[in-house]
């Protein structure tokens, strides 16, 4: 029994229905359906360039789907006007691939930024809240550093503190493990799970790190060639005999996803050079 479809429909905080999206002439997504139930950590996996990050931008309303729709709390994202869209985004937090910290602001000011912009809280409360968030990611002591003084793992933790500054209901992670050492990776994995459960939020993690992701997510969508090719819990997918999933999970170089970029026949290609 599929655990996602068995939950009542209104319990999905984000739903993607028959979504297609194209950049110019290139079809990036062809009829994608996904469900993100409240309180769960769901991973979207797939090779580089399979449009995973674009999906997050579609959920956040930064891009409009060509066909289909993304619903957040039942509202079709691309039909909202600017004010309603911004209202919707205040329920979301997003961790960008490289943190996207504001380079002209200190760590403290980065985390305080959404609070200062969206609330009229007095300075003393902002200070307490920022330190609370920074403490949650273990960087209370780094509050006075500038983003340029942080390591990759630390910037991402600061960005995470900033993403959850206003206690969002949906937290999106764009490649949270890319370029991190194993220790930082473990820290981030831990944080994603802990923050999700502590805030009662829903997390959407875009990644291609199979082993990291399978260890802590509740549900996985595999995306390839613009379609959802497989979905299930990590345990189900580990046992999957689908060639693509097998190749991906076991990290094999060749398979349904070819090693070679499409090219003319190797032998002919080489001989042509010799005859010229």
């Amino acid at each position: 029994m599929n655990p996602v479809t068995s939950t009542p429909v209104n319990d999905n905080i984000v739903e993607i229905d028959n979504l297609s999206f194209s950049y110019g002439n290139r079809m990036l997504h062809k009829g994608i359906n996904m469900r993100f139930p409240r309180g769960k950590v769901v991973a979207i996996m797939g090779g580089s360039g399979s449009g995973k990050t674009t999906l997050l931008r579609l959920i956040g309303g930064q891009l409009k789907p060509s066909i289909g729709a993304v619903r957040v709390e039942g509202k079709v994202v691309h039909e909202q006007d600017d004010a309603a869209l911004y209202q919707l985004r205040r329920k979301m937090g997003m961790l960008f691939q490289f943190g996207a910290l504001f380079t002209d602001l200190s760590v403290f000011e980065n985390v305080a930024f959404p609070m200062r912009e969206h609330t009229d809280l007095p300075e003393s409360i902002i200070r307490d809240l920022v330190l609370l968030k920074l403490n949650a990611v273990g960087l209370r002591g780094a509050r006075d550093l500038m983003p340029s003084e942080l390591s990759g793992g630390m910037s991402r933790r600061v960005a995470l503190a900033r993403a959850v500054a206003l206690d969002p209901q949906i937290i999106m992670y764009d490649e949270p493990f890319a370029g991190l050492d194993p220790i930082s990776m473990g820290v981030i994995v831990n944080l994603i799970r802990r923050l999700n459960d502590a805030l009662g939020a829903t997390s959407i993690v875009v990644t291609h790190d199979v082993h990291e992701a399978f260890a802590f997510v509740d549900y996985v969508y595999f995306v390839s060639n613009g379609q959802v090719v497989a979905e299930g819990t990590p345990a189900e997918l580990r046992e999957s005999v689908m060639p693509f999933v097998h190749q991906f999970v076991h990290g094999e170089a060749d398979g349904p996803v070819p090693f070679h970029y499409p090219a003319p026949d190797y032998q002919k290609d080489m001989l042509r050079g010799a005859s010229a």
Binding site: Y86, M92, M94, L101
Partner: protein
């Protein structure tokens, strides 16, 4: 042949398309300006970065331009026996033309490039996207304050340029060459008109401020998010600002002298 024509056509339509984007960007920036003007600290911070940080280059250039004007003016005027008029010449040249124009050109090189590179890199590192996802409008938060800072800074910088330039002319003509100080100042006072010269100069520099700042902002915002894209955008800022300033200067002067 047909290919060349096609290319020219494409380039023309692309240029017009970009101009359209730029116009929309400009109007949108104005429409969300209310919010940023209400938050004055944001604008003041940007005035510091664009205006105050450009002071040194503006003032030093002004001093040299004024000194050159003094030398050249004296050299020419003394042939006609009216070397005391050098004060008028220096002042009129600066207040009407060189003050606003040279300031705008230097501003484009110093502050405009900084704005383009900063915004281009903010875009490349997804800082603008991050702002959008935090439900903060980056045009209102990042672009509009910089726009108003540029528009406010430019006339002040141009006024300071003229002031220091006149002082440079005084140094050379009066202190170095020995033109009569009383004649230098009194001729300047009686021949520089407040409405026709000074106000027109200020109008010019406000227009240049709008042009230079909005070009720099647009190029930054429109830059492809790569190292190459940002570098090209920075170059375009200088080239486009300079050409726009010089062309606008001609048009404005034609109207003002009419």
């Amino acid at each position: 042949m047909l290919k060349t024509l096609e290319n020219i056509g494409h380039q023309v339509t692309d240029a017009i398309l970009r101009l359209g984007y730029a116009a929309r960007f400009f109007i949108y920036s104005l429409s969300v300006s209310g919010e940023s003007l209400r938050r004055l600290p944001l604008v003041i911070r940007e005035i510091y970065f664009t205006g105050v940080m450009s002071l040194i280059i503006i003032l030093v250039s002004a001093l040299f331009v004024g000194m050159v004007l003094g030398l050249q003016g004296y050299n020419t005027l003394q042939r006609y026996g009216s070397s005391e008029a050098v004060g008028v010449l220096v002042a009129l040249a600066l207040v009407r033309e060189l003050g606003p124009v040279v300031t705008a050109l230097l501003f484009a090189g110093r502050a405009g490039t900084a704005i383009t590179a900063e915004i281009g890199l903010m875009k490349a590192t997804e800082q603008l996207s991050a702002m959008e996802m935090m439900a903060i409008n980056p045009i209102a938060r990042v672009v509009a304050p910089r726009f108003w800072a540029g528009v406010i800074s430019m006339p002040i910088l141009a006024a300071l340029f003229s002031l220091v330039g006149v002082f440079g002319g005084y140094l050379v003509a009066v202190q170095l060459i020995g033109v009569d100080s009383g004649a230098f100042w009194s001729q300047m006072q009686s021949n520089v008109d407040f409405r026709d010269d000074i106000v027109n100069g200020v109008i010019k520099s406000v227009v240049f401020g709008v042009a230079c700042t909005s070009i720099a902002l647009f190029e930054g915002y429109d830059a492809p998010p790569t190292a190459e894209g940002v570098s090209r955008a920075t170059t375009r800022t200088v080239v486009n600002s300079s050409l726009t300033v010089l062309a606008l200067d001609f048009i404005l002067t034609a109207f003002m002298l009419h």
